[in-house]
């Protein structure tokens, strides 16, 4: 074989970058899925940056969007390349060493596209083998060649004219790409879909609002299920051994006026466990029955092992928007533990089955009803983090109350379907925090206060740090054991994104999107 032939072979073999087996056991220098691993820990196993040396962290490179946009990307890092999503639904591959662009795929948006109830953004891509997958605002799933950005296939997921959009990063497993859908403020009927990674053919769909004859349909009145919402707009997690996909389901529609939809409104504000092969519902757990506060359960479901109620179990935990932290048995969905992790004034507590015991008078009203948390919740889409060694769960908390209002509402396809809104309290009465919870109990271990309720997620590291961001542009590192501030820098732009960790040339780095820039830091 000639030298050219060998070189070509090496180049070709580099194509199979991220096979499924590698996603199941990710190497520490890569960041291969939205949350870092299938268990959604958003944890970097790298340990070169420590409490002792983090003060020496410096900016290594910056990538600029060059346009005003909500930059919420959580990058994927594999084999010297960083793949990011850019608003509205573009994908860019960057040289990991320098931040220089390798290719960009641009998605032209239809002129009549609307995003009803959220900004034009995209939180990330997924990579499997040599293909990059992205969901688009006009509700397509697109597969791109990882080496060139060329389109491999482009499948319609839903009709954007009805308010369906995709903002979440897909989840890839085996030979399928799983996606959720946005549009919960437009009276959509939500779902979780799986597509064949090679052909783009849809393999299964799970409707989050059950139709006539299906389990849970009885929890809706009349035709209200047709416009029942139940969006699935944040990436779920996956247990390869159980072959179960865990996906959070959003609020029922209309959001704040529940008069037309009496009942529990399944499977809104629930966690659903779906068979990865068939999409069949294995179990569900509803956090907020008949929600009228827009408390989507689309927070990240985090998987770990813990001893709860007397025996070791495989559990799934969620810090819910409704201000309770829940631990469930992830094989069965059994409720194990629920703890308040932020101020709430709507429930006396949870009963033995995990169902909230609500406080009368906390419903939205024409004159306004003051309730904690605000409609943006005690936390939101931004990611928590789980530290497997310290067994701590870190969550960005929004301590904020609001007056909830209820108004008339009528459904018109492709328009707002909300039935109210909120009036938040003055800024200086609200604050934010990073809280460390005992993962198995939800008991608070420490708190680090923030000036305002944050929109940034956190990432813990094996080096003993927790990285986070603030609305005012601060990127910072806390001691994972104590919450002590160890390092911070002003990035100059609002941080509405999650940190990721990876290696460049074997050296640990962290990255965060801030303002219209992606910034990489290292020692």
């Amino acid at each position: 074989m000639t030298r050219f032939g060998i070189a070509l072979l090496v180049a070709l073999s580099a194509g199979a970058q991220a096979p499924y087996s590698r996603l199941v056991n990710p190497d520490s220098g890569s960041w291969l899925t939205y949350s870092g691993n299938y268990a959604a820990h958003r944890f970097s196993p790298m340990s070169q940056i420590t409490p002792a040396n983090v003060s020496g962290l410096k900016m290594k490179w910056i990538y600029q969007l060059g346009a005003e946009a909500r930059f919420e990307t959580s990058p994927i890092v594999a084999d010297g390349v960083m793949y990011i999503a850019e608003p509205p639904s573009n994908v860019t591959a960057l040289d990991l060493a320098t931040g220089r662009r390798l290719w960009r795929w641009e998605r032209a948006m239809p002129k009549d596209l609307q995003t009803i109830g959220f900004g034009r953004t995209n939180r990330g891509v997924a990579v499997l083998d040599d293909t990059v997958f992205v969901g688009t605002l006009d509700a397509h799933m697109v597969a791109l060649d990882a080496k060139s950005g060329a389109v491999r296939w482009d499948s319609v997921v839903a009709d954007y004219k009805l308010g369906y959009c995709i903002t979440a990063a897909p989840l890839v497993l085996k030979d399928r790409v799983i996606t959720g859908i946005s549009g919960g403020e437009a009276g959509i009927r939500g779902f979780v879909d799986a597509y064949d990674t090679k052909t783009g053919k849809r393999l299964w769909r799970f409707w989050t609002i059950p139709g006539p004859g299906e389990k849970g349909h009885e929890s809706w009145t009349g035709d209200s299920w047709r416009t029942g919402g139940g969006s699935t707009w944040v990436t779920g997690s996956y247990d390869p051994e159980l072959d179960l996909v865990y996906w959070g389901v959003g609020n029922p529609g209309p959001d704040w006026n529940g008069d037309s939809r009496s009942g529990d409104n399944l499977f809104t504000c629930s966690l659903v466990a779906l068979d990865g092969s068939t999409g069949k519902l294995r179990w569900h757990f509803q956090y907020t029955p008949h929600d009228t506060h827009d408390w989507d359960a689309t927070e990240i479901p985090v998987l770990f092992e813990a001893t709860v109620r007397g025996r070791p179990r495989k559990v799934v935990a969620m810090a819910n928007r409704n201000a309770f932290y829940y631990v469930l048995d992830r094989a069965t969905g059994e409720f194990l533990k629920g703890t308040e992790y932020a101020k709430q004034t709507w429930a006396k507590g949870l009963d033995d089955s995990g169902r909230p015991v609500t406080i009368a008078g906390s419903e939205p009203a024409e004159q306004g009803t003051l309730v904690w948390p605000s409609l943006q919740g005690a936390t939101n889409w931004f990611s928590p983090s789980y530290h497997p060694d310290l067994k701590m769960f870190y969550v960005s908390v929004r301590e904020m109350g609001a007056y909830y209002y209820k108004t008339d509402v009528e459904y018109k396809a492709g328009t707002m379907f909300m039935g109210g809104g909120e009036r938040t309290l003055p800024p200086d009465r609200n604050y934010g925090a990073i809280r460390a919870l005992d993962a198995s109990t939800g008991e608070r271990k420490w708190e680090f206060r923030l000036h305002s309720p944050p929109w940034a997620g956190v990432m813990a590291t094996a080096g003993g740090l927790v990285f986070g961001g603030s609305n005012e542009g601060n990127f910072y590192a806390l001691d994972a054991r104590t919450g002590k501030l160890l390092w911070d820098v002003q990035t100059g732009g609002e941080i509405i994104a999650n940190p990721v960790g990876f290696a460049i040339g074997g050296k640990e780095h962290v990255a965060i999107a801030a303002g219209q820039a992606l910034i990489v830091f290292g020692l």
Binding site: T407, D408, K412, M418, D428
Partner: protein, 244 residues
């Protein structure tokens, strides 16, 4: 005559020049269904910016406001309102305008006496009106268009209550014992920037401070002034509708 014609032409071009009360009421209902979720039910903001102001950055005039409501702002995530055409966007715009409008109403006080009282009470020692005065306190040139008479009276008798996030008095004590009072001009989780009484800027890291107190007001309470004089000052302040 020409001026009169021009005035008529301008009014003809203003799509909100003569909006019936019923349209504003319908605009309020449509606002609640379509806009309040993001901009707040009272227009004071939420995930979207507050609308309780007389001027908007992205809409120079009423026609532009209607167009903005109709088409939305794609980059900011504001959806269009084509489904409300032909009348809905105009009705919403009329209601939104009413949120930021402090109407001139007959007040019991005397404007000229109020102006005199403003001067004799040394208000211009801290406030600027039309370029006159010293600017430690909030600029008052357009205060009459932004605040209701009741709110102005409250600020005279109970300054700092409720506190204004945009004008927050702070007092810091450093670990070295240095003390500084001023107005917060910016703040994040780790630092605070302060303007002192001499209009000088200071910046502190919070972890270098012994204490950081916010709230209150530098302005003395004028609750001992005769009620008639307070009404005179309010009447004067209500006439200040320039600048903005």
């Amino acid at each position: 005559m020409l001026q009169f014609v021009l005035l008529l032409a301008a009014q003809a071009q203003d799509p909100l020049a003569h909006v019936p009360a019923a349209d504003i009421e319908r605009g309020k209902r449509l606002y609640g269904m379509n806009c309040g979720g993001c901009h707040g039910m009272d227009g004071n903001g939420g995930s979207g910016p507050p609308l309780t102001r007389a001027k908007f950055k992205r809409a120079a005039d009423n026609a532009a406001l209607i167009e903005l409501i109709t088409s939305g702002i794609a980059t900011a995530g504001m959806p269009p309102s084509w489904h409300l055409l032909p009348d809905g966007p105009r009705q919403i715009a009329a209601y939104v305008r009413s949120l930021g409008e402090v109407k001139s109403v007959p007040l019991p006080g005397d404007v000229d006496r109020g102006k005199q009282a403003y001067r004799s009470s040394a208000c211009s020692g801290c406030h600027i009106v039309n370029g006159e005065g010293i600017g430690i306190g909030p600029e008052l040139t357009g205060i009459g268009a932004m605040r209701t008479p009741a709110s102005l009276l409250r600020s005279l008798t109970h300054p700092g209550d409720p506190p204004s996030p945009a004008f927050m008095p702070v007092k810091v004590t450093t670990r070295e014992g240095e003390q500084l009072r001023g107005i917060r001009v910016n703040e994040d989780s780790f630092t605070i920037q302060i303007k002192d009484a001499r209009n000088r800027f200071h910046s502190f890291r919070k972890d270098r401070l012994e204490s950081l107190d916010k709230g209150g007001s530098w302005m003395p309470a004028y609750d001992k002034l005769p009620p008639e004089q307070l009404q005179d000052i309010v009447a004067y302040l209500a006439t200040l509708r320039g600048g903005q």
